[in-house]
Symmetry: C2
Subunit: 161 residues, 2 copies
DNA sequence: GCTACAGTACTCGGATAGATCATGTCCGAGTGGCCAAGG
DNA sequence: CCTTGGCCACTCGGACATGATCTATCCGAGTACTGTAGC
């Protein structure tokens, strides 16, 4: 069970976008350069975020990606779900159905106690992620490094490097 | 992020093993037949459980697998870790290290707030899994289906089917 | 000087290869049981 | 009848194919800017 590398990139990139002027768009290539990431592949992840309604994209010169809604309304769960997909990590394949006994019309995804336990654990994980917003994360970073917003904004404003 | 199919098989198989006579071993093929699973592949998963010290294995006739310790001392976390490996789902690759700024001797796996948030969520998941023992699960099943232990034991005792 | 227009550079978006891991299968090493032969 | 030795069947364990998914890359469609020509 390995989470995609793109999740880390996506969260950090979204965080950087929170520090830009409202309405300002940044090309994927520039976001990638910030962390020296492969541009085309990061672009792919950003597309997924755009499809999920987290980012908004504009093509052409002066185009790029920007947050589609307020950082207060974007949770880590949203970002993870956009990259990894909405399905759960533990997939109950209902092995009980193939075991001995009667199985007519029984939904083992709900009835099976093993499935319930696994689901409960995963729910705790999701709840924790859903409790963290991009705004909260941004504020925490700013408390630790008050210069981060200005520095990041300056870096993206600069033409090179 | 998809969990291995083997996790579901492993938990159900361990559960079945809790209902056997103490010290009685069951071949992988027989455990697989219970849920109509591919025997050789289930065998592979059971080997992982044996390496993790959850099951004990004996080769030769009358051999097979049995629980290596009491069901009270086996958690779902143990089983999942045995199959999926001990590493975390979210791997912090420390992208911050490649970003602008100073990075000498900084452990971003601990310092990065993104990494911390993801880690906290995953910890909630692990804690939930670690709170569920095989014994607890077994008792829940027995409360719902009091005949389960006897039926399961009888099925494994029967020579065919 | 102002406007219209064509060319150009830039960006996303999806389609296309390669690498890595999960899935599934197979055969060999070792062990215990069984059977027969001998005492 | 009891013991002993060899044979055989059974089981795990790891090595070997196969397929799906993650990773990485490339090129085309569309857009906004820019520079120029005409009025």
């Amino acid at each position: 069970m390995r989470m995609s590398e793109g999740v880390e990139w996506a969260i950090h990139s979204c965080l950087n976008l929170t520090w830009l002027e409202p309405g300002e768009a940044v090309p994927a290539a520039r976001l990638a350069a910030f962390y020296e990431l492969p541009a085309a592949y990061l672009n792919k992840q950003l597309q997924a975020l755009a499809r999920a309604g987290i980012l908004a994209s504009t093509p052409g010169p002066r185009g790029g990606f920007r947050l589609a809604r307020r950082p207060e309304d974007i949770t880590l769960m949203d970002v993870v779900a956009a990259i990894e997909g909405p399905e759960e990590a533990f997939r109950c394949e209902e092995v009980l159905r193939r075991g001995p006994g009667e199985h007519e019309g029984v939904d083992y995804r709900r009835r099976c106690l093993v499935s319930q336990s696994m689901r409960r654990a995963e729910l705790a994980w999701r709840r924790e992620l859903a409790g963290q917003t991009l705004a909260g994360l941004r504020d925490s970073v700013e408390r630790r490094s008050p210069s981060a917003p200005a520095e990041t904004r300056a870096w993206f404003a600069a033409l090179r490097t």
